[in-house]
């Protein structure tokens, strides 16, 4: 009654913002109140972004919101408005290309979305209206409509289940398209609703739409002929979600409560937060440097221009007068436009094409993961899954792996091993001669009879305390039951039949326990209209009325059921992790996963109180969770322990090898588990994360309580002690020192993280981190999901911001998967939540080794090289143009023709690097897998740090200088043809450009260690294309060009022997340092000597090469250039005299 009045009072309140009221079938509940149908959105799903009309403006706006696109747009506009050296086409064309391609891609995707939307929105559904069944399009469903759904049909919106064709008022649903869980879930009709929906007069009050698929609170008021309205609580078990499919049930009726974009499915559409890879951050840093170079180049040129023009006769000689407009322009405005012009001239140094190439590389590259047949698991018939291609290279940078234990390191294939009832241990043996399969391994045998009662209670508890469903296949269901019914006394014959019985549960523990009980003779037959049927050892069928299920949750770490037996006893059975049961019972250790079972007999009053409490909490619209929790905790007290079960969880295939390889790769592995310490520790030993000689540093509740002092003090003391041991005393330069393993539990971790005083807290955190970082492996047990994420976050934000990877299979790992830089989901047994939230999903843990050591390593090397190469090739492309300004009166005269400027990045040099970045295997995959230590070579973003960047930049500067001045010296006499004719400025540019294209392509060829036919094709093809294009471009008077600058320039260049000779010379001289580096690169250290035969990669970018050598090589190669200059200016006259003397 109390509940009711509270609820009724609520109905007449003005509608609260955080809840909504729905009139089932649009029938107003009270006649005296004017019925204002509340406004809800319609049932249209709009996942598309554009319409035909707004596509162009909206898409363009979206695209130009990206800073890079905007930058290029600005450059383009400057070119259009200001009189700039290059035609707007040079930057407009690539920009147009990028924008168009992106627009087409997005348009296509949007068209697909429109199609999918239409399919969903136009789907015919049946709506019950005034007793008639009306066919409607799905999008026309309104909140409050009563919708009928048939078997194997997807629910068109979020519905409250009112009526089911099944007798027991349930229906089965699969949510495979929502969360990937393909098991059948049971949903219940609202209790006590009338069978005749036409006359049902009810309102539903429920919370406003929220995206959590597993949470729902609401209540339903049912009005019956002026009676006090009945109130029923609504929970997720009553809610059918849009996107889920009805199974095993002929038809259901439900009332629409959330429609269209307010359904939980639609609310879940919002993408995950974008993770950015470290490479991307490096690119941005490099970009900034290049932007500075660009601006400073433009500034230098502008300044020098005005200094130079200050000299008499230079600004406007008689042969080169300015137009009237130029003369009239304000000086400062002119300076500004000059600055802009220089910016435009040099803007190619920031390559728009790099973004396109990087995106393409990532997109195409990620296919190698899905294509990899090694990732294919024949059991689940699935390969790896890539949810984002943005993080491919991050796989090669992982420093910390956080792994879940259950289902990740272990198979999560639970097997009931033994149990303990009242202190006596029972082991199950497969080939047991005992009649009942029990074997008492300790305890006096004569007590067996006395214990029988306890045993049976224990087994009943196992049979009752769960949420397992019996899998019913429609044609076999009955037959199977018959088989079960027909269980003979002979237990030996039956196991194969029993195995056929399918159990579906959210956790494999439960199945293992139910199966275990079955082996001992107690079979769970299923749930029939709130009655649980079990078949006892004596072949009796017992019925228990299921009163309440106190669901499992990871915080309580236990679950209970309240049942009423035939005899009328109300019993509470509770099972849960030992730590959560022991404090709650009046009071064993083994390496298995143990669950304790406890029970209590509820008196009628106790039950009534508990029932009321539970009902109230379930009806609460706000803080239902907390209220339920409080009631649960209140009910689950004073129980008595019946026994404990031990379930073994086998290690995953190759788990130990994988962990060993990861450690060999210098990756620190942390095991984060909710399991208890002993179990987790034994798993760690089994996985060889802890070795026999590993010294374990324990920081758990147990060690804290050892000293007998206050925990905090003890914590402080232990932390300091371990810190001294692991950090201070550890020799810094030796790798063969003592291995340490660290163990911490959840309770202690929260003490470390949330210490009483603020100063201590950060200090403890630092100490803790330092200890952990010096340990080879860390085990964190008894972790709540949020704590897992906390740890990941703490390590992620620690000094040096290491790259973290989380791998897990269950919903409890989602938080850490989302938190880590790279989240990996295992397509395990605990549903699909981890997979859905992951960046990559693999079927088994063993695949992690190849994913990181081979794929990750290669991706990283590929993209790092791609990025460095792109900056390099644009630097040596633009540097000659910059130098040319010193020789053309700072007039922004471009060195290269517009066609070359435009095509350089698009056509001439883009394909080889793309092919390289997709196919390169500087070390072949087998070797990478066999030598995990190779992973360390690229650790800490080794190829994209400032030193390698400086190297590539210097290389670009060196090449740029060489190209420009090499040709400059040649042009000291422009009569380069054997008929005495001279070359002009376009020939100059073409020679430089030819050297440039050949050098950057051959530089890449030198770096390529893995020449597939594709590499050959694109490298030689690009060069050939360049030659043919140049002929073609110069071979025709192009009618659309204002100036035929390149007419026959290339052909004339090739007719000059000198041009050939200088091209060959400059290419060779540019590549000489590369060749020398390879020669000078001596393998150092025993490891590298060993790997000498495979280490063919010039590792100048890693630590193995000292910069001293690099500068030496540069000096050696710059030497000829300087000697040339020296010779030509000083030595030559002397030499000439000498020659003449001869």
């Amino acid at each position: 009654v109390r509940v009711c009045t509270y609820a009724c009072g609520c109905t007449y309140h003005p509608r609260r913002v955080d809840s909504r009221t729905i009139y089932v079938g649009h029938r107003s509940s009270s006649t005296n109140e004017a019925f204002i149908p509340p406004k809800f959105c319609d049932n249209r799903i709009v996942s598309s972004k554009y319409t035909v009309w707004n596509f162009l403006p909206k898409n363009l706006f979206e695209q130009f919101r990206r800073i890079a696109n905007f930058y290029f747009l600005i450059i383009f506009l400057v070119q259009v408005i200001v009189d700039t050296p290059t035609s707007p086409v040079t930057s407009g064309l690539p920009l147009f290309f990028v924008i168009t391609v992106t627009a087409i891609k997005q348009g296509y995707e949007d068209w697909l979305r429109h199609k999918a939307d239409n399919e969903v929105n136009k789907y015919p559904v049946t709506v019950l209206e005034q007793g008639r069944r009306i066919r409607k399009e799905s999008e026309k469903i309104k909140v409050g409509d009563v919708v009928e759904v048939e078997e194997d049909v997807t629910f068109p919106c979020d519905l409250i289940l009112l009526q089911s064709s099944r007798d027991d008022d349930t229906c089965f649903v699969t949510t495979a398209s929502l969360d990937g869980e393909s098991n059948h879930k049971t949903h219940y009709t609202v209790p006590d609703t009338e069978k005749d929906l036409e006359t049902l007069n009810a309102t539903i009050e429920c919370e406003q739409p929220q995206p959590d698929l597993y949470k729902f609170v609401g209540r339903m008021h049912i009005y019956k002929n002026d009676q006090e309205p009945a109130v029923r609580s609504l929970g997720p078990e009553n809610l059918l979600l849009k996107g889920a499919t009805l199974k095993n049930t002929q038809r259901i009726c439900g009332v629409a409560i959330y429609t269209g974009m307010e359904t939980k499915m639609a609310l879940n559409y919002q993408g995950k937060s974008q993770k950015r890879s470290a490479v991307e951050k490096s690119i941005n840093a490099f970009l900034l440097v290049y932007l500075c170079i660009l601006v400073s180049k433009a500034l230098v040129c502008t300044t020098l221009k005005y200094v130079w023009q200050g000299k008499p006769g230079q600004d406007e000689p008689w042969y080169n007068e300015k137009t009237q407009r130029e003369k009239d322009t304000n000086l400062y405005l002119k300076m500004f436009t000059d600055f802009l012009s220089f910016m435009v001239l040099f803007n190619f140094i920031i390559p728009v094409s790099m973004y396109v190439t990087v995106e393409m590389q990532k997109f195409l590259g990620s296919f190698f993961i899905t294509w990899d047949k090694d990732f294919f698991d024949p059991e689940i018939k699935e390969g790896a899954l890539v949810n984002t291609s943005d993080l491919n290279e991050e796989l090669g940078q992982v420093e910390y792996v956080f792994t879940d234990k259950t289902g990740t390191l272990t198979q999560n294939n639970m097997e009931f091993i033994e149990c303990c009832i009242d202190g006596f241990q029972y082991k199950y043996r497969d080939a047991s001669s005992d009649l009942d399969g029990f074997c008492v391994t300790d305890g006096p045998l004569n007590k067996v009879q006395e214990k029988a009662g306890r045993e049976e209670l224990f087994l009943r508890a196992l049979c009752l305390c769960h949420t397992v469903q019996v899998k019913e296949s429609s044609e076999q269901g009955q037959g199977q039951r018959d088989q079960v019914d027909g269980f003979g006394l002979d237990g030996e014959v039956l196991p194969p039949l029993r195995e056929q019985r399918g159990f579906i549960a959210s956790s494999p523990d439960e199945v293992a326990l139910v199966k275990g009980a079955m082996r001992f003779g107690f079979t769970f037959l299923g749930l029939e209209s709130k009655n649980m049927k079990i078949l006892t050892r004596n072949n009796d069928i017992e019925m228990y009325e299921l009163l309440h299920v106190l669901n499992f949750d990871p915080v309580r770490r236990r679950m209970s059921v309240i049942v009423r037996s035939k005899s009328g006893d109300t019993l509470l059975f509770c099972k849960g992790a030992d730590s959560s049961i022991f404090p709650r019972v009046r009071q064993e250790e083994e390496g298995y996963r143990t669950l304790c079972v406890a029970y209590k007999n509820l008196s009628a009053e106790d039950y009534a109180q508990a029932d009321a409490g539970l009902m109230e909490a379930r009806l609460a619209l706000q803080d239902r969770e907390q209220k339920l929790m409080a009631v649960y905790n209140q009910v689950e007290t004073g129980m008595s322990l019946i026994g404990a079960t031990a379930v073994e969880d086998r290690l995953q295939e190759e788990a130990a090898e994988t962990m060993e390889a990861l450690q060999g790769a210098g990756i620190k592995v942390w095991v984060l588990t909710g399991d208890k310490m002993e179990t987790a520790k034994s798993t760690c030993y089994a996985c060889r994360l802890f070795q026999r000689n590993t010294e374990l540093l324990e920081l758990t509740v147990r060690t804290l309580e050892d000293g007998g002092r206050r925990r905090e003090e003890r914590l402080h003391e232990l932390l300091l002690e371990y810190h001294k041991k692991a950090v201070q005393d550890a020799p810094t330069w030796s790798s063969a020192n003592q291995d340490y393993g660290f163990i911490i539990d959840g309770a202690t971790l929260s003490m470390v993280l949330n210490s009483s005083s603020e100063s201590n807290s950060s200090r403890y955190k630092n100490l803790f981190l330092q200890i952990c970082q010096n340990c080879t492996s860390v085990l964190c047990c008894r972790m709540a999901p949020l704590q897992k994420a906390q740890i990941v976050k703490m390590v992620k934000n620690s000094k040096g911001s290491p790259i973290t990877l989380s791998i897990g299979d269950g919903a409890n790992d989602v938080s850490m998967i989302l938190e880590a830089h790279v989240g990996i989901g295992i397509k395990g047994k605990e549903g699909r939540q981890a997979v859905r939230n992951s960046d990559y999903a693999i079927p088994k843990l063993k695949h992690l080794k190849k994913l990181l050591l081979a794929h990750g390593h290669l991706y990283y090397v590929r993209i790092a090289h791609l990025v460095q190469y792109f900056f390099y090739k644009n630097l040596c492309f633009i540097l000659p143009q910059f130098l040319y300004q010193f020789f053309c009166g700072y007039s922004q005269q471009p060195l290269y023709d517009a066609a070359y400027l435009t095509m350089y990045n698009i056509c001439f040099t883009s394909m080889p690097i793309l092919a390289y970045s997709l196919l390169e295997q500087h070390i072949c995959i087998e070797v990478l897998l066999d030598n995990a230590a190779l992973y360390r070579d690229i650790a800490k973003n080794g190829m994209l740090r400032w030193r390698p960047f400086l190297y590539w930049t210097l290389l670009g500067v060196f090449h740029g200088l060489l190209f420009f001045f090499g040709v400059r010296f040649l042009f000291s006499n422009p009569a380069l043809q054997d008929n005495g004719q001279v070359f002009g400025n376009w020939s100059y540019g073409t020679i430089v450009f030819t050297v440039l294209v050949f050098t950057v392509t051959l530089k890449l060829a030198l770096d390529t260690r893995h020449w597939t036919w594709i590499n050959h094709f694109v490298i030689w093809g690009s060069l050939l294309f360049y030659v043919f294009f140049s002929f073609f471009w110069g071979g025709i008077i192009w009618p659309f060009l204002k100036q035929q600058r390149l007419y026959f320039v290339f052909a004339n260049m090739l007719s000059s022997v000198s041009a050939w000779l200088v091209i060959i010379l400059l290419i060779l001289l540019s590549l000489l340092p590369e060749i020398l580096l390879v020669v000078f690169h001596k393998p150092r250290g025993p490891r590298q000597v060993e790997l000498r035969h495979i280490h063919t990669f010039p590792l100048y970018f890693t630590h193995s090469f000292s910069p001293r050598f690099i500068y030496l090589f540069h000096f050696l190669t710059v030497l000829p250039l300087f000697s040339l200059w020296f010779w030509s200016s000083l030595m030559e006259p002397i030499f000439n005299i000498f020659i003449r003397g001869i």
Binding site: D372, K373, F1048, L1076
Partner: protein
């Protein structure tokens, strides 16, 4: 910074989470076992080691040094003489001409520069004029032309391109050829006389054809209405460039070398790469194998001084040069080849020594013997 928000993927984030699993899911389908998909394409894996690089270094060294020597010798065998006739110094014969220069003077100023050839020039001699500090590669200058007009396009002839400004129109008449390049065409006349030891002054015939690129003369440049037309009629309605003394159709008496296809004009129109440049002016053809083209002795260069360079501190030169297969005299290539070859060879030796030493270190260590 540029790319902070640049991400072509932020569209996809939405898409990927839509479907179950999204992305390229291969449920129930085993990935194909093809070489490409399994990253097992047959590949050539060249290993650049000391073993392969050292011979390459020696090969480069051994190849480059002879080529360099060849180039150097060739370059040195080319005879070249440069005569600066700017007239900057008071002692210079052209000093007065350079001082008294005026655009409006009707009487051309002539100066004679004597010079002495120490060595006979055996083969064809190429006469170049050279200008210094003349920015033919200035952007404003480079683009100041109308290739359509120069190709003989009638429309461009009467409506020169905007790029030609401020040399597009004069007194509302279109300029042909328009633009700064054409306007500033080099117009000094150079004549060469051999002072025979017996006192006679023999004019050396200078050939004005074959100095421009064949394709330029025959394809890129063309007179309006074809080269055989009456050029003065074809250029009707246009006016000569501001600084020219004659209209374009009076550049040469030879019809095939007049108007836009005048080779001096074409040569000038090919803008030079650097502010100090030379352009081919005339060719002195070789007469026969017995007599050198230019025998040793005294010569006189007669200059009709029309082209002012003093205003921008420029210099004017005349260059007499023979030509080899590699073009004009330029020691750069030879020296560069020798230097690179030598460096390669030297490095090869050093590396070989180092390599040998290192190789032995791990061996029996018997180096001292």
């Amino acid at each position: 910074m540029m790319a902070t928000s640049y991400n072509a993927k932020d569209e996809d984030g939405r898409v990927t989470v839509c479907g179950p699993g999204g992305g390229p899911l291969l449920r129930g389908k085993k990935p194909e076992n093809t070489a490409l998909k399994q990253q097992r394409l047959a590949a050539w894996q060249p290993v650049l080691t000391a073993g392969t690089a050292l011979p390459a270094l020696f090969a480069v060294g051994l190849l480059f040094i002879p080529v360099g020597v060849g180039l150097f010798v060739t370059s040195n065998n080319i005879r070249e003489l440069e005569i600066d006739y700017t007239g900057a110094d008071a002692s210079s014969p052209c000093f007065s001409c350079s001082q008294s220069f005026s655009w409006n003077s009707t009487r051309p100023c002539t100066c004679t520069v004597p010079f002495y050839l120490e060595q006979p020039y055996e083969s064809n001699v190429y006469v170049y004029y050279g200008l210094s500090n003349f920015y033919q590669n200035h952007r404003r200058y480079v683009k100041s032309r109308d290739d359509g007009q120069l190709n003989g396009n009638e429309k461009s002839l009467t409506e020169p391109s905007k790029e030609c400004e401020p040399y597009a129109y004069r007194d509302n008449e279109p300029i042909a050829p328009c633009g700064a390049i054409a306007n500033s065409m080099f117009n000094d006349t150079l004549e060469l006389f051999y002072n025979d030891p017996n006192g006679t002054k023999i004019q050396i015939p200078l050939n004005a054809t074959g100095i421009a690129w064949w394709t330029d003369k025959h394809v890129k440049f063309g007179n309006p209405g074809g080269n055989d037309q009456n050029l003065s009629a074809a250029f009707q309605g246009t006016t000569r460039p501001v600084n020219w003394r004659r209209p374009v159709y009076e550049l040469d008496s030879d019809r095939g070398n007049n108007g836009f296809v005048n080779e001096d004009f074409i040569v000038w129109m090919r803008t030079a790469a650097l502010p100090t440049f030379r352009k081919l002016y005339r060719i002195i053809g070789k007469k026969d194998n017995v007599v050198p083209t230019l025998p040793r002795g005294n010569y006189t260069l007669e200059v009709v001084y029309n082209y002012p360079v003093r205003s921008f501190e420029g210099r004017k030169r005349v260059i007499l040069s023979t030509i080899s297969w590699m073009g004009g005299k330029n020691p750069f290539l030879g020296v560069a080849y020798i230097a690179v070859g030598a460096v390669c060879f030297f490095l090869g030796v050093v590396l070989l020594a180092m390599h040998h030493k290192c190789g032995n270190r791990n061996g029996d260590g018997d180096i001292s013997n």
